[in-house]
Amino acid sequence: MKKLKVMSILVYTESENGKLKKAALEVVSYAKAVADQMGTSVTAVAVNADNAETLGNYGASKVLLVKDESIQAFNAKKYAAILESAAKNEGAKVVVVSASANSKYLAPLLAVGLGAGYVSNVVAAPSSVSPFTVKHSTFTNKAFANTEITTDVKIVGLSNNSFGLVESDGSASVEDFSPSVPESGVTVESVDKATDKVSIADAEIVVSGGRGLKGPENWGMVEELAEVLGAATACSKPVSDLGWRPHSEHVGQTGKPVASNLYIAIGISGAIQHLAGINSSKVKVVINTDPEAPFFKAADYGVVGDAFEVVPKLIEKLKAFKAANA
């Protein structure tokens, strides 16, 4: 009898220095939900990851593990090619990737390679799998769209922290996978990355400062608050334009998007362009001297007060809270 090809859901699970990222567990959780809707299973693809079998705890039943020192540095073209062969081998109808900078870099290349329709910034499991319809944020978080993907193979780019981690009681078999990897005309020369800091994209908590902080010399308390919370630091656009903080911290419509669980805005007025970029954060706290600041309309919790008094107090209270709950 002819064996039917299993059309699994393929998911790209990112790791860094061998360690699987939290977003990897989230995309697997999501892929499992899609697989359940479509009556199939999840195959994960990981590159140079340790402990790949743990993906089974989130719903993967198979992991294709690429072990290759020569592709230790991420390369969009090469990684897209790996996913393309995996998708073809597995007969995958849906490929799920995250919203990390690297996933967003490779997904359009993969889409062309597979002839697959691609939707990014997806925030929920498909509302229907036939037609395949997903909800995603658009107009920089000012709205959502429900979009149908009409191609045979579909690519879903999942927004960070939008689905969450869902544990599953299955287990995953790990198979070595060594597809041929093409040459790429782009070579990484150097990477400049603070290894001890949480990035805005990966952070569950983001602490952000605005022009209300008066000058770069006052960022010590912002960094201390971030450290107590294990948070990433961010800033409003004028703060980076003034050179008080690096551009990489600029969040908002024209900066980085933030989709953290908690966003704390200190001395930020809450201009529409700022809010657009941080609106998909779940819980927002504002600390501002001006009760009329527009941020109070967008926030869940607010303190009307001087940051120079409130923030040190908050740090002190959080330290006490942590000590009590340790």
Binding site: P108, T138, L262, I272, K317
Partner: protein
């Protein structure tokens, strides 16, 4: 895309001189997405199936404006031609004229609505192949569709090198060096033309952006804006409906002298710490 590069290499090889090709006359294409101004209120009509353009001001997508300004730098400092392109209806022409007023040499409008990222990339691929461009500067993402996909798809379709989230770009001969933002840092890459980039702030600084002056606006009227008919393609995705985020409940205010309460709310109610 290779023809000019090959000719130049040919000339230098045949002169049998070992000097470096520093700058050749680059042909640059800047992709311009026509988007609602960042202050626009977003609303929908026709049973939430269409974007309500009523009262909306349109601008050059901010990421594309940084790219266009960098292209002007190449033109002025290294010698290059700069064309701009948009895939869209006649309503996008004022945005293209603005790009001409900033300094682009000529504009192309592919006369078809931008149905999805794939269809746009397909149209752009034809423009790039027909025009023989060496460098295509697009934006990391458009602030309306936020696809993060057009430049990558375009690069894959025309088999050019591709770097996105670009915060700096230098070109020397046919070699290029770019820096791109990654999560938590940045990386520097070397690559070569033909090249497509997805640009953003950093490519030039905010203060380098140019507001078109009277002379620029007058000159832009005389510059060529050609309308080309689309090639046949189908979109791969299709928006069924739009929705707006659920209205937010009122903010809970905590007294500045009672920060304990904030900590407790974040722990017990919001469950985020």
């Amino acid at each position: 895309m290779h023809s000019k590069i090959q000719i130049i290499i040919f000339i230098f090889v045949h002169k049998k001189k070992t000097f470096k090709v520093n700058h050749f006359y680059m042909k640059i294409l800047v992709c311009i997405s026509h988007v609602p101004d960042t202050t626009s209120k977003i609303n929908f009509t026709d049973n939430d199936t269409k974007f309500d353009t009523n009262g909306v001001q349109y601008v050059i997508n901010p990421n594309d404006e940084f790219g266009l300004t960098r292209a002007m730098w190449f033109k002025e400092k290294q010698g290059a031609s700069v064309d701009v392109v948009n895939v869209g209806g006649p309503e996008t022409e004022p945005t293209l004229r603005k790009a001409l007023a900033i300094g682009a040499d000529s504009a192309i409008r592919v006369n078809t609505p931008a149905t999805d990222g794939y269809a746009v990339a397909k149209q752009l691929a034809k423009v790039v192949n027909d025009g023989g461009y060496d460098l295509v500067i697009a934006g990391r993402e458009s602030i309306d569709y936020n696809g993060n996909m057009v430049p990558g798809m375009l690069a894959a379709m025309i088999d050019a090198n591709f770097v996105t989230n670009c915060i700096s770009l230098e070109v020397d001969g046919t070699s290029a060096k770019a820096t791109r933002e990654i999560d938590g840092g940045k990386e520097t890459v070397s690559t070569s033309l033909p090249l497509v980039i997805g640009g953003q702030k950093g490519l030039v600084e905010e203060s380098d952006l140019r507001i078109p002056n009277m002379r620029g606006i007058m000159m832009a009227r005389k510059k060529p804006l050609s309308v080309v008919e689309p090639t046949e393609t189908n979109a791969e995705t299709n928006v069924v409906s739009f929705e707006k985020p659920a209205p937010k409940g009122a903010v809970k205010l905590v007294d500045a002298d009672n920060i304990d309460e904030l900590v407790s709310l974040l722990h017990n109610e919001a469950k985020v710490i």
